[in-house]
Amino acid sequence: MNIIVGVSDMRVSNDPNSVLITYSLGSCIGISIYDPMVKVGGLLHFMLPDSRLDEGKARRNPLMFADTGIPALFKAAYELGAAKQRMRVIVVGGAQILDQKGFFNIGKRNNMAVRKLFWKNKVMIDYEAVGGNVNRTIKLQISDGGTWLKTSGQQFEKI
């Protein structure tokens, strides 16, 4: 069963029948985590790098931001028995519009926010497809951790 993860949303599951999918990551970033031992996986689709933008919005929807969404994703997976050291971590998205070098480069800042948080918490990235000007869709199969990535105009490819 496909479970769609919307913008500023996440899903964590240990149901082997579930496939988590998030569509059309522009400058947003999708983070997929999977612990093969307990077969627990999660998918986050966050939009902006820093929750200090608006405390109220961050409280109402912590999954909108990297710094509040990523901890929430890992915590939810831990609650189902996952362990950080066993997790396969995949990061995709963070695209940018052409010529968006300095001003308002949200894709790049989203990616920097992920790296900063992962470095601080000693999380290793196993696979990443970040940047460029393509949009991406990612899906994670909970039964075995199989993960597929689709970029603009192409078919799904297993990663």
């Binding site: 522009g26 939009m47 608006d54 010529d99 308002f104 393509v134 105009g153």
Partner: protein
Amino acid sequence: MIDITSIIKGIDKLKPIPQVTQKVMAIANDPMSSATDLADIIQYDPALTANILRVCNSAFFGLAKRIDSIHQAVAYLGMDQVVGMAMLNLGSENLKQAQQGYDLREGELWKYSVLSAFMARELADNKKQKGKHLIFTGALLKDIGKTVLSEYVGNYFDDIEKAIADRNITFRDAEKLIIGIDHAAVGAMVAEKWNFSGKMVDIIRNHHLGAGWPEDDIDLATVYVADTLCMIMGIGVGSDGLAYRFHPAVVKKLHLNDIDLQMLMASFCEKFHELEKLLTCVQGISV
């Protein structure tokens, strides 16, 4: 290069703009017309009236009071909003289908168009701009050309993709190079066929701000910024991805800074749920 006349024939296959919508547009463009004139036109079209009332009373608007007549809707929400609702009807007829050439599933182009239109209007509201119906409709229908060009983009996608990579050009420029015409130009032809105002035709033609765009056009700048934010958010982004140019000067022209843009994205993200409900209201209609 493809025979452009076959593409132009595709424009003729689009559903014609209903007479009532043409009249609504004429009233919206006439500074001497009144809210009553608008309501008087719409009230004789029961299907359009019913749909507008359904949208008015949807959760998206969250009105405390129930709206039961078109005159009440115009009085309560204002002409701009009601004109926008009439345009939603027109857009839903033409934008809902999947556009496989652009790798857009059913409803994706429509959802993106509506979100972009409401975002453009909010920007216009914030800046107290006039002519909000023009901005709303321009943002809503700016990608109508994709519905005509989709098949050609699908057939020549590999060439388009290669041109973007090799030449560092935008998707729109690559369409023009490979197919001979781009979706914005096709959209402008549709707008002309529908007898839209010259200003509306220009907004649709220039919404990606290609060479020679009128730099002082604040309405166009507003539509462009809303479109760009939707792209960044990944809303309705298909095979063209984010392969369009960013113009910081336009953002600054509207006196927007980095925080303003992020706040706008965050606010609209919170409205997704209500927007879904609004789309449900407008679906399945006939005009």
